[in-house]
């Protein structure tokens, strides 16, 4: 390089001499194209410069090569940024998946709990007499021409059936549950306050092979009824329907405690 920054500005008093010199030199260099050595050399170097300029401008302008020209340290930084971002997103994703699994299992559990509750409600309803029931069992028919059957005999029959595993029992149209009362009144039998008259038809759901022998044992219910001149018949049935219902009673004072 021949030029230095110390070159002073052209002195003020001689602008007229400087101006034509600069312009004429420029004009002389430009217009009559002379194939001198210096012109050719400058052309070659400027060709290289133009080439470099064009390449660089194009490389900078195009998006997909933005990373190609990047320095190694920049690339490392970009890469680590991307890795951080990936890690963050992975974390978020696993969190969301966990949440989803949790929600799915909890809804499954709620469904299962609801199903079990319904099942239990049904079972308890059968025991409490608030829902109808059907299943294998026996029917016991007592004809009482002499009117000798009393409440305690019916109670014996019910207790015998219960002891043998009867799950749902009704006498005529009265459902028998834990709190059912048997009362003799005015020569008749009242079950839960309802008058029950002969012939008594007792339906009991349970294992027939257990229920029938329980009634027929010597000295048992059937024998004692027959001693009172009643006609008793016991039949095993594939399907006994117990459809008499009791109303569910809400206890006034007792609360369920866990």
């Amino acid at each position: 390089m021949t030029e230095e920054e110390t070159a002073p500005p052209p002195p003020g008093p001689e602008p007229g001499r400087d101006r034509p010199t600069g312009r004429s030199a420029l004009r002389a260099g430009l217009w009559p194209p002379r194939a001198t050595r210096s012109q050719l050399l400058a052309a070659v170097l400027l060709f290289v410069l133009g080439l470099g300029l064009a390449i660089q401008v194009r490389a900078t302008g195009s998006e997909e090569t933005a990373l190609r020209g990047a320095r190694q340290e920049d690339l490392v930084r970009i890469l680590s940024d991307l890795e951080d971002r990936t890690a963050r997103l992975e974390e978020e994703k696993s969190g969301l998946e966990e949440q989803r699994t949790e929600l799915e299992t909890s809804s499954d559990q709620a469904e299962e709990a609801r199903r079990q509750t319904e099942e239990r409600e049904r079972q308890l309803g059968v025991l409490a007499g608030t829902v109808a029931a059907e299943g294998p069992g026996i029917t016991l028919r007592i004809d009482d021409p002499l009117g000798a059957v009393e409440a305690d005999m019916l109670l014996d029959a019910v207790q015998e059936l219960r002891a043998a595993g009867a799950e749902a029992i009704q006498i005529n149209d009265v459902r028998i549950a834990a709190g059912t009362s048997f009362v003799d009144e005015n020569g008749g039998v009242f079950v839960d306050g309802e008058p029950v008259r002969a012939p008594f038809r007792i339906g009991a759901i349970g294992r027939p092979q257990d229920l029938e022998p329980a009634l027929n044992i010597p000295g048992g219910v059937v024998q004692s009824l027959e001693n009172e001149q009643a006609e008793v018949s016991v039949e095993r049935q594939e399907k006994v329907v117990v459809d008499a219902l009791r109303s569910a009673e809400q206890p006034d004072y007792a609360q369920s405690s866990p």
Binding site: R19, G22, L40, A43, L46, L49, L51, G52, R71
Partner: protein
């Protein structure tokens, strides 16, 4: 005139042929271009001063490009490539401005 034609031809060829620069040299191309620009402005000023010498121009052009690329290369190796290239660009920019000022005085007399 031929020199100007050479510059125009270089730009046109660069745009049309889309040459591929080796990946290893790519970071140095912008610095080299700026350095070459500096040399060209210096040459132009020397021409207006009536001091133009083709040999000096060729040597200054090539050495400028080489030294600029070398400095950046060294900076990359030392881990300060980005800062050093900024520094080189600043220095070359100052020189280009001062040369442009001298050229302006010659051409416009102001």
């Amino acid at each position: 005139m031929i020199a100007v034609l050479g510059l125009v031809l270089g730009v046109v060829v660069g745009i049309l042929t889309r040459p591929v620069v080796p990946a290893g040299l790519e970071p140095y191309l912008p610095i080299a271009v700026v350095a070459a620009l500096d040399a060209v402005f210096g040459g132009l000023r020397a021409m207006l001063d009536g001091l133009f010498d083709d040999k000096v121009f060729v040597v200054s052009f090539l050495s400028n490009v080489t030294v600029a690329a070398l400095i950046v290369f060294l900076g990359d190796k030392l881990g300060v490539g980005a800062q050093l290239s900024t520094g080189v660009v600043v220095v070359l920019g100052i020189r280009i401005f001062s040369n442009a000022a001298a050229i302006r005085r010659h051409v416009f007399g102001a």
